[in-house]
């Protein structure tokens, strides 16, 4: 038995054969429950041997981005489907992405397309306020702006995920650009003064709200929607819709082709398929209730989640945001500790 050890070791290399047997590899940061069935279907349609690698929530959407950085000298990934945008732009800035102008992306709004065609956005989540309707039954009392975080009226009763990673980091970094340094600094100071609950993730904030520990919190539409589907007493507010308000931030999924990744030809076909209008419709209908960026596509059934064009969007600079993620995260660490 022990004599066969070397044989076993040799066989180990063969264990990897399947993964490298041709076909593109996709790294997916979107929840596996939503993305896998869609990708399985696409792979069957395109008749490609698609290897899927899904992210871990433990990595807060950046696990695969880190992996792409680690694997830079020998890319294993052909297509990267990120569930947000800023880290994809970081990869573009780091030179890891190959340009590809997908014909399917022609009708995606220009704000969500890279002028150099290294990435394309689609199907977005909005940064919204999730409200516990048992604690706040009167709609007129609901919060309506990021500024409510620092309103003494909500002292100790609202929360937000710590903006050290994930969509919350993207959100706060973009706020810094939109509000300016001074207002952003006051916002951070106000979070402390107003005893805002700084939780570990968007999931934690929704949990706290649905269980009545908090009256409301900032989160993503998908987290809100799942809680709503499960019958918890929650509602969704698109913030800053008042005249002159900064608007609600949309963070789209993004897809990109990795430079020198395997099977570039099929990678492009796959990107075309992912960027098709049908994908946005599928993701809108799924539990994650993603908002289509293009007009004319049926959005989520939940009336609380509004369609593009029916609300004021926050205008933010993705390149600036991506380039300043590290600075904002570091500053947060300095102010609040990890």
């Amino acid at each position: 038995m022990r004599q066969r050890l070397p044989l076993v070791l040799l066989l180990l290399t063969a264990c990897g054969a399947k993964a490298g047997s041709g076909g593109p590899t996709i790294y997916v940061a979107l929840d596996q429950e939503f993305s896998q069935p869609v990708l399985d279907r696409f792979a069957a349609e395109l008749q490609i041997d698609l290897v899927q690698r899904h992210d871990s929530e433990a990595a807060k959407t950046v696990g695969l981005v880190s992996m792409l950085m680690e694997e830079r000298s020998n890319p294993r990934c052909s297509v990267f489907w990120n569930n947000e945008l800023a880290n994809t732009v970081r990869l573009a800035q780091a030179g890891l992405l190959a340009p590809y102008d997908s014909p399917s992306a022609a009708d995606v709004p220009a704000a969500y397309r890279d002028p150099q065609h290294r990435w394309t956005g689609f199907a977005a989540r909005a940064r919204v306020l999730v409200v516990n309707t048992e604690l706040l039954p009167d709609r007129s009392t609901w919060p309506g702006s990021y500024a409510d975080l620092v309103d003494p009226k909500w002292q100790g009763r609202c929360g937000v995920a710590r903006p050290t990673t994930g969509t919350t980091l993207t959100h706060f970094t973009a706020l810094r650009q939109v509000l300016g340094e001074d207002a952003y600094g006051r916002l951070l100071d106000g979070l402390v003064a107003n005893e805002v609950h700084l939780l570990a993730s968007n999931g934690a904030t929704v949990n706290a709200v649905r269980e009545g520990k908090l009256a409301w919190a900032f989160t993503d539409t998908d987290d809100y929607h799942v809680a709503q589907l499960k019958g918890f007493p929650v509602a969704c507010v698109f913030p800053d819709q008042q005249e002159g308000g900064i608007g609600t931030m949309l963070i789209p999924n993004s897809v990109a082709i990795i430079k020198d990744g395997p099977d570039q030809a099929n990678a492009r076909r796959l990107v075309d398929r992912i960027l098709a209008r049908e994908t946005e419709a599928l993701l809108a209908a799924a539990d994650s209730a993603q908002i289509p960026l293009r007009t004319g596509i049926t959005g989520p059934a939940d009336p609380g989640i509004r369609a593009v064009g029916t609300f004021r969007q926050m205008v933010w600079d993705v390149d600036w945001t991506a380039a300043n993620l590290a600075r904002c995260a570091a500053e947060w660490d300095r102010r609040f500790g990890k």
């Binding site: 004599q3 950046v62 696990g63």
Partner: protein, 537 residues
């Protein structure tokens, strides 16, 4: 026979292969990390160390980890130690059954214990977190303490009893099993410190402080947005003294256990009556087993029945739906977990046998090398493996994309769990008669025949124990599953995600099935051959 020919003789191939594995999957990755820290552009400078020493975050995390480790270990000692103390050699009602069950909570992944606690109460504070980690790692203390109690010479206890009375004899007994208790505590301490998955899960539930293992992972994942080499290397720099300390601790723990002599042939302890405590003492195993198994299983069952939603009351009908969803979503991951854990168990045992013999008979330093991976936060070992193998051209030429395949996951897991098998087996080899092996050397048989007929059979019980331990640990491994590509498709990783995304219903089914698998293998000998579960300890 030339020296080279002797070294490469067929009888040495298993050892050479195991050493090659150790070099490739333990020394190379960890050495690579250390080298990058020492020789990189912003590497091993006094400034870097000074900056690290002044990094309040790192120090806070380190301090939090150590405090958590100590607190959780205390809980493990109280729960596990007390369980063994009142069930082994006592007249506790049902003690014969309850004693061997001390190992049972080991089959419950700590993340499930965390889920169970978090579902019923707030675990955002320090002590709740220490409590659940202590519960999750208490089996190490329970099992080793039970082993200690079973191997104490009953006559020595009786001598102490006759001379100094029962209370003094009990104190003597406690001292006699101190090495095993200490070893169990050190293992619990190490596992607590190295655990990334549970503290990270608890952050979702509202924990607001962070451990060292979390900090390592966070810094690594931040490289996507951070750019400087120093930022990249700082967790590794920070890890080095920590890892060295943990390595020594683990080595000490397992050597302590090995040093406790095998007294299996002596008279067992006499029955030590609990007196008036006979029935109240039942509380100890009841609390231990309830916290370690009962509570997690209870919560999982509730999830399956629909406790994590408000649309309809909990029902069997909802459980049916949960089951269908689980089959649809998680069955492949569950099967991957099963095959991976089985493969890892077999592979690790095959590697550990020659290493154990070599370390017990020739090179004790091998024990220390084998102990290294278990002393490192698994997340760091995973990162080290990724760095070393993602660009391995030779393996790529040999047989496809090793890095992306199950082979790499198998090797990564094997590296992580090799210490437990190698050190368990080397302790067992040390207990075997050298003279009996020498008697075999005089027999004109091939080395393979000698290995199979003489050396292996006395090790089979320990081999089975090591294999089961590795199987269970591999089945519940979360940290490596996050980092190693193929291992992404395992049930535990999927479960951790599913709970984040509020899919408690079907993930509860997967978790229960995973638990059943973890229980099945250890129970197999009992089911097939009537072997006692106690033999596992």
């Amino acid at each position: 026979m030339s020296r080279l020919a002797r070294i490469a003789s067929p009888s040495r191939l298993p050892l050479l292969a195991a050493l090659a594995f150790l070099a490739a999957f333990v020394l190379l990755p960890l050495g690579g990390l250390a080298a990058a820290t020492v020789f990189g552009p912003d590497g091993f400078t006094l400034e870097a160390w000074r900056a690290l020493a002044e990094d309040q975050n790192a120090l806070t995390q380190l301090s939090a980890s150590l405090q958590l480790g100590l607190a959780a270990t205390t809980v493990s000692l109280l729960l596990g130690g007390l369980h063994a103390w009142v069930t082994i050699g006592r007249d506790l009602p049902g003690g014969a059954w309850l004693g061997p069950l001390g190992i049972a909570p080991l089959v419950v992944p700590p993340i499930f214990v965390a889920m169970g606690f978090a579902d019923l109460a707030s675990v955002s504070g320090f002590w709740p977190c220490a409590l659940l980690l202590g519960v999750a790692h208490a089996p190490f203390v329970a099992v080793l303490a039970a082993r200690g109690l079973r191997s104490v010479d009953g006559r020595a206890y009786e001598a102490a009893w006759l001379l100094r009375g029962r209370p003094r004899a009990e104190r003597w007994l406690l001292r006699a099993i101190a090495p095993e208790l200490l070893a169990g505590c050190l293992l619990a301490f190490l596992f607590t410190l190295a655990d990334h998955g549970v503290p990270e899960f608890l952050t979702v539930k509202g924990k607001t402080w962070h451990t060292y293992a979390e900090g390592l992972f966070s810094r690594w994942s931040r490289r996507a947005v951070g750019t400087t080499f120093a930022e990249l290397q700082s967790p590794i720099t920070a890890a080095l003294p920590f890892v060295a300390g943990l390595g020594c601790l683990l080595w000490a723990a397992l050597r302590l256990r090995a040093a406790a002599p095998d007294r299996g042939v002596v008279r067992p302890l006499p029955l030590r009556p609990l007196g008036a405590w006979r029935w109240p003492a039942l509380l100890a195993p009841a609390v231990y087993l309830a916290a370690g198994i009962g509570l997690p299983v209870f919560v999982l069952v509730r999830w399956v029945l629909g406790s994590a939603q408000r649309l309809e009351p909990m029902s069997l009908h909802y459980a049916q739906q949960s089951f269908h969803k689980a089959m649809d979503q998680g069955l492949p991951d569950l099967l991957h977990s099963l095959w991976l854990a089985l493969g890892v168990a077999v592979f690790v045992v095959l590697l550990a046998l020659p290493l154990a013999r070599a370390s017990a008979r020739r090179w004790p330093v091998l024990d220390l090398l084998c102990a290294l991976p278990a002393a490192i936060p698994a997340i760091l070992l995973g990162i080290a493996l990724v760095r070393s193998f993602h660009d391995e051209a030779l393996l790529r030429r040999l047989g496809g994309d090793f890095y992306a395949g199950w082979g790499f996951a198998l090797c990564g897991y094997a590296a992580r769990f090799l210490p437990f098998a190698a050190l368990t087996l080397s302790a067992q080899v040390r207990r075997q008669s050298i003279a009996a092996e020498e008697a075999g050397a005089l027999v004109r048989r091939s080395p393979v025949t000698r290995a199979l007929r003489l050396h292996l059979p006395p090790l089979l019980p320990a081999t089975w124990t090591a294999g089961v331990l590795v199987f269970v640990l591999a089945l519940r491994e979360l940290d490596l599953a996050v980092v190693l590509p193929a291992a992404n498709a395992t049930a535990v990783r999927r479960l951790a995600n599913a709970v984040h995304f509020q899919h408690e219903d079907w993930s509860g089914v997967i978790a229960l099935l995973l638990l059943s698998l973890a229980v099945l293998l250890p129970l197999l000998p009992s089911l097939l051959a009537g072997r006692r579960l106690a033999s596992l300890s």
